[in-house]
Amino acid sequence: MPKVNGASLLRGLIGTAGLLVVLEAAGRLGAWDTERLPLVSTVLLRAGELLTDPEFLVSARSSLTTWALALLVTIAIAVPAGLLLGMVKPAEVAVRPLIEFLRPIPSVALIPLVILLYSETTHMRITVAVYAALWPVLINTIYGVRDVDPLAKETLRSFGFGPGSVAYRVVLPGAAPFIATGIRLAASVAIVLVVTSELIAGGIEGIGVYITIAQSGNRLDLMIGATILVGLFGILVNALLVAGENRLFRWHRARAGAAT
């Protein structure tokens, strides 16, 4: 969990602002044809305007809903599966080759197939995003479960608790910091895949669809503006999840020291 402090945040902002100023100056000094590729200030202005543009907001809401649903489905599948595979060694051994085979298959490559399987575009997008987001959560859950101290489990067993209680009261909370990291990684992967599937497969709503429409209208300012907003959304979600992890898993940080 990278910890962001005031000083490093300030430096990051200065760096970003510096780059934007340089690009703006270069554009104004005629480094490229600003009729084709708009100035930084124009793009930022458009991005701001998009936030109050009803057409864009409908698309944004659609993408974010798809993203949230995809993340929920991912968690609902990958966390229980990871707990099972982490606790039952033979099951993990049996499934491992399959995981290693499926994991490197790019989700994007599955889009044409998934289009044929679903008539509903939202379902198609969710499927594509879940396929990509599943792995970080699954793998992190398995490793998290493995990392739970055997003595912690034995302690509860010695008090007469059954395997179900041990899983729920020791293994799940013990693995939770790893699972949370997996979910944070999955959140970034999922937003990429949602927008990608909108770009490739089209549809009626979605930020990807909006970008495609702006492209056909040769509106580079709107395309880049919408793209920036997707990026900002990703940063925001990541920051929220990091803050949540730092708060919930203080015990994990305290135990692992400054290493995490």
Binding site: A152, S158, F159, F161, S165, G174, H252, A254, R255
Partner: protein, 258 residues
């Protein structure tokens, strides 16, 4: 209340314990001492139902143990691994009480009472990683006390704390367990500790561990860290146990050997 009959356990071809026979009466404090690698922990884990011994039986109140028995609690040496870092001291102590079917309010009340007994009433809201080693082991002891087991197993419970804390915890354990009338089986590698804490000291041989000595400790109570340890009887017993642990033949000068 506890009886071990020909208890044996092998890991593959390695024999950890070999036909251990032992009877522990209700309310007795029995210390098991032996050289390292004598299968002390294997013995404890068999009794706690954490491993299934490959031979022999464990009888608790006359009934053979299968799985983890009710009315039994274990205090492990490694308090930092045995306490749950995501829970406060109060929640750690209260957790096993779920097995007793108590509601939240009664669990908290019982946990608080146990923490008071070990002198940690003020630290109930603290997390294990905010506490010193001695405090953490007190929490482990409180957790066992709150559960009110008939049999308390302790696996080198004071092996990871400093000398002063160790003495404090020995006295604390004796005091609160006498108060509850608990039967205790304490495993240690420390000869002094076994004589100071025990009503009886059982000596195990090197692996495969088997009982080579069973001595009754007759020291006037209540025991005192300074006083008790300078008594002639204490010094003689300690020497006796020490010889047994090293595998020498025991002298029989004034010490009852069974």
């Amino acid at each position: 209340m506890l009886e071990l009959v020909d208890l044996s356990h092998t890991y593959g071809s390695y024999r950890a314990i070999d036909r251990v026979n032992l009877k522990v009466a209700q309310g007795e404090v029995v210390c098991i001492v032996g050289p390292s690698g004598c299968g002390k922990s294997t013995l404890l884990r068999s009794i706690a139902g954490l491993i299934k011994p490959t031979g022999g039986t464990v009888l608790l109140d006359g009934k053979p143990v299968d799985g983890s028995p009710e009315n039994l609690a274990v205090v492990f040496q490694d308090y930092s691994r045995s306490l749950y870092p995501w829970m406060s001291a109060l929640a750690n102590v209260g957790l096993p009480l779920r097995r007793r079917g108590l509601d939240r309010k009664r669990r908290d009340a019982a946990a608080m009472a146990a923490l008071e007994q070990v002198g940690l009433a003020g630290a109930a809201a603290k997390f294990p990683w905010e506490m010193s080693g001695g405090m953490q082991q007190r929490v482990s002891i409180a957790r066992a006390l709150a559960y009110q087991p008939k049999l308390l197993l302790m696996d080198e419970p004071f092996g990871s704390v400093d000398a002063q804390t160790r003495e404090e915890l020995e006295d604390l354990t004796l005091r609160v367990c006498a108060h509850h009338g608990m039967t205790i089986l304490l495993i240690t590698h420390d000869v002094d500790e076994s004589v100071y804490v025990g009503d009886r000291v059982v000596v195990l041989s090197k692996a495969p561990g088997t009982v080579v000595g069973d001595l009754t400790v007759q020291l006037p109570g209540p025991r005192d860290q300074i006083h008790t340890r300078e008594l002639d009887a204490f010094v003689r017993l300690r020497a006796e146990v020490g010889r047994l642990v090293r595998g020498m033949t025991p002298h029989r000068n004034g010490v009852e050997t069974r």
